[in-house]
């Protein structure tokens, strides 16, 4: 049996039963990386000696076979891996060497995973394309002229290309969800503050960043649940709180209430994506689900989007260099007061006082309550992940200066933050499942949004889609 594209849970069955040795499986994936990574440049850090030693130990111990026993995997470059630099794509970080593995890496290894490398990212994790001066550019395994997404782009490319069993990423503006969607994978952006991010940093930090989360990308929804179980545990360094996620609200379509929000006026979404989500809604109706195409949370979507952009900029402002701040201040001074483009809102948030942030945060919490009320009526919301399928490479200039064409209309690059942002600003969990291909042969996914701490519900729905609509399909030419 060729294990390449099996889900992680299936790989763990094979290693646990002894059908494949842990080292044998690891060497299978290492050989694929060595043979094929040149096509897409997804895996940029390789920790092969330690991984082989670990796989040998698992083979010889044969005990405590965890849920990811012997599953080879990679993690996003932004996680610390002992002995290797954590650069976030910055050249001046090349000499850095992490002292210990990130907490989530340790936890995945505690249930048997074998982490053997790290995957490519954009500079500062701030793009939906993954290229940087340290490691170069990553291609989408479905189509090399396209990006695999970002910022967990190298990870999505690696997982889709069969370079390992599972991937660990992070998300503050779609960085798990968009690459999963662009590469035809399952992905999960957990409820904010559920999974401690210790070791997902450039410099050692104790405070948690607003909106930012870590979470898995995989070839099966079941793998998302396995990974979440082990990373959704409070950091013992911080808290004696316990997390106890409620079980999925439903396991059958006939018990599920599904709101479908396939498009929103003023926020251009590619017609192929909209049509696929509408097709899916019809399918769910025939499966017996209660489906509404008009149910919406009772807030103004554009207000929520603008609030997100400001909160995002505020959350990241602690990391900005004086150079960047000066440039933003200069631009802010030239801004017209009626300019409500996403970039203008970003720039306007420069030098936000804490007082203004408190006002925005209060509004955010009001909208969280509106979401909570919505999820009393509906179990999940299905909506696009982002405006289109995978972008063609566009590496000139800065992201905020770029445009993208959607349905023949030109939109600002950062206007694409709409679908990722209106959920994550409010700390909600969102899973992604692949639902089809565009005419150009690029994957399209759907965003499955749930209530706060409804992570098991959104992952369960992703699993139900995997069963009844579409499972992972490997990109052509990667066998």
């Amino acid at each position: 049996m060729n294990p390449t594209f099996l889900p992680a849970w299936r790989l763990a069955e094979l290693t646990s039963s002894g059908e494949i040795g842990c080292l044998e499986l690891l060497d299978h994936y290492i050989a694929r990386v060595e043979r094929l990574n040149g096509r897409i440049n997804a895996v940029v850090v390789r920790d092969l000696d330690r991984a082989r030693q670990r796989a040998r130990t698992l083979d010889s111990s044969g005990r405590n076979k965890g849920a990811l026993f012997g599953v080879p995997m990679t993690v996003k470059e932004s996680f610390d891996l002992a002995g290797f630099p954590t650069t976030w794509g910055h050249e001046d970080r090349k000499p850095h060497r992490a002292e210990t593995d990130a907490l989530a890496v340790q936890r995945l290894e505690q249930i048997g995973a074998v982490v053997f490398g790290k995957t490519n990212v954009p500079v500062s994790l701030a793009d939906w394309q993954s290229y940087n001066p340290v490691y170069g550019s990553t291609n989408n395994p479905w189509h090399h002229a396209h990006t695999p997404g970002g910022s967990s782009g190298g990870g999505a490319a690696a997982c889709a290309a069969g370079f390992g069993g599972l991937e660990l990423g992070s998300d503050i503006g779609g960085s798990i969800r968009v690459p999963a969607h662009y590469c035809g994978l399952f992905g999960h952006k957990p409820t904010w503050a559920l999974c401690p991010p210790r070791g997902h940093w450039m410099v050692n930090t104790a405070a948690v960043t607003d909106i930012s989360v870590i979470g898995p990308l995989a070839r099966s929804a079941r793998d998302l649940a396995l990974a979440l179980d082990v990373i959704a545990v409070p950091d013992p360094m911080d808290s004696d709180l316990a997390i106890s996620l409620p079980p999925p609200r439903a396991k059958r379509w006939s018990d599920l209430r599904v709101a479908v929000w396939s498009h929103e006026p003023g926020h251009e979404t590619d017609s192929e994506t909209v049509a696929l989500i509408d097709d899916l809604a019809r399918h769910l109706e025939t499966e017996g689900a209660t489906v509404s195409r008009t149910a919406r949370p009772e807030f103004d979507a554009t207000e929520a989007f603008r609030l997100y952009i400001t909160l995002l900029d505020a959350a990241l402002s602690g990391r900005l260099s004086e150079d960047v701040l000066d440039r933003k201040r200069e631009k802010k001074a030239q801004l017209r007061s009626d300019d409500m483009s996403s970039d203008a809102i970003f720039v306007r948030a420069t030098d936000l006082t804490h007082r203004e942030w408190l006002r925005l945060n209060e509004r955010r919490h009001q909208i969280r309550r509106i979401w909570t009320a919505f999820f009393r009526q509906w179990d999940v919301l299905l909506c696009p992940v982002i405006a289109t399928a995978a972008l063609p490479h566009m590496q000139e200039g800065n992201p905020w200066e770029r445009t993208h064409t959607v349905n023949g209309r030109t939109i600002a690059y950062n206007d694409m933050l709409f679908w990722p942002g209106i959920t994550c600003a409010f700390h909600l969990p969102a899973s992604v499942a692949p639902i089809g291909l565009s005419q150009a042969g690029l994957p399209i996914g759907v965003q499955i949004v749930g209530p706060m701490h409804g992570d098991r519900t959104t992952i369960a729905v992703a699993g139900m889609l995997e069963q009844s609509w579409r499972a992972f399909v490997p990109p052509p030419g990667w066998d």
């Binding site: 409820t191 559920l194 930090t205 104790a206 405070a207 360094m237 911080d238 808290s239 004696d240 709180l241 316990a242 997390i243 106890s244 996620l245 409620p246 505020a314 959350a315 402002s317 602690g318 900005l320 030098d351 936000l352 006082t353 804490h354 007082r355 203004e356 942030w357 408190l358 006002r359 209060e362 969280r368 309550r369 909570t372 209530p451 706060m452 701490h453 409804g454």
Partner: protein, 278 residues
């Protein structure tokens, strides 16, 4: 111990209504609010000890940033000796490993940033101008308040990072020590003083006047780091006003600090009604 279980006390004396009241509020009011309650569970740890014997107690009588009246320090010192005799391990020098003066400055600035939501635009502009006028290293309450009221969110994040590191220093401290005793304020109840602005007022401590705001040091030493703190009556000043002790514990160590207050109530000082209120 489950959160809905009553705390059993290994003492023969009946529990006074006062100590019962002190034990009940966390049981009744602790716990996540509705949205968070979907996933977060509280399960407060039981008290680390039911008696003074063996308890590890750090005591801090005073700090250069906030002079404390001898009526409090004397009684607190006497309590420390009493605890030693009761078999507690008492240290007068153990401290969390961070710069307490920096912690105080961050507390005042971030407190005043947190309360800036109540200010209007003109007030924020005023405080921004005041902050710009004063030297950046001015550690007076007024200067810290001016900086806090006009603080950028970015600076709040940078301060929060330092605060979170100090929280970890406290967490490490409470691996070695069970409670940290210190004054709750610089003096007993101050006489009514409604003249001027808060930051202009002074209070008499050890025979001289100090700014009333100095004693926010004792408020911030625990609450800025999100720690629980119980207050228990310590005794009375020569003029008959009550003074208390602040019993600080580790994060979620609320049952430990309340249990410590119960032990003090039993063996040191119980609630005394004010004269003439029977």
């Amino acid at each position: 111990m489950r959160i809905d279980e009553p705390i059993s006390l290994p003492i023969s004396r009946p529990v006074s209504p006062a100590a019962k009241a002190a034990a009940e509020p966390p049981d009744a009011i602790a716990g996540p609010e509705e949205i968070e309650a979907a996933g977060w569970k509280f399960d407060l740890a039981p008290p680390r000890a039911m008696q003074f014997q063996g308890l590890r107690v750090a005591v801090m009588l005073d700090h250069p940033l906030s002079e404390v009246d001898a009526a409090i320090t004397g009684k607190l010192d006497a309590l420390a000796s009493f605890l030693s005799k009761q078999g507690a391990r008492v240290s007068a020098t153990a401290r969390p490993d961070y710069d307490l003066a920096l912690g105080h400055r961050l507390y005042i600035e971030m407190l005043r940033a947190t309360t800036s939501g109540r200010l209007d635009d003109a007030a924020v502009d005023h405080w921004r101008a005041e902050a710009a006028r004063l030297p950046a290293d001015d550690a007076s309450y007024y200067a810290m308040m001016a900086r806090g009221h006009s603080m950028l969110h970015r600076d709040f994040l940078l301060g929060n990072e330092l605060r979170q590191r100090m929280r970890r220093a406290w967490a490490a401290f409470f691996k070695e020590w069970d409670v940290f005793l210190c004054p709750p304020a610089a003096s007993a109840a101050q006489p009514h003083d409604h003249v001027g602005e808060r930051w202009e007022r002074t209070v008499e401590v050890n025979g001289h006047r100090i700014p009333t705001t100095d004693q926010m040091f004792w408020a911030g030493i625990s609450c800025f780091f999100l720690l629980p703190a119980t207050v228990a009556p310590l005794g009375f000043t020569p003029s008959g006003l009550p003074v208390g002790v602040q019993i600080v514990g580790p994060q979620f160590g609320d049952r430990t600090t309340i249990q410590f207050a119960r032990l003090m109530e039993r063996s040191w000082q119980a609630f005394d009604p004010p004269p003439g209120w029977d």
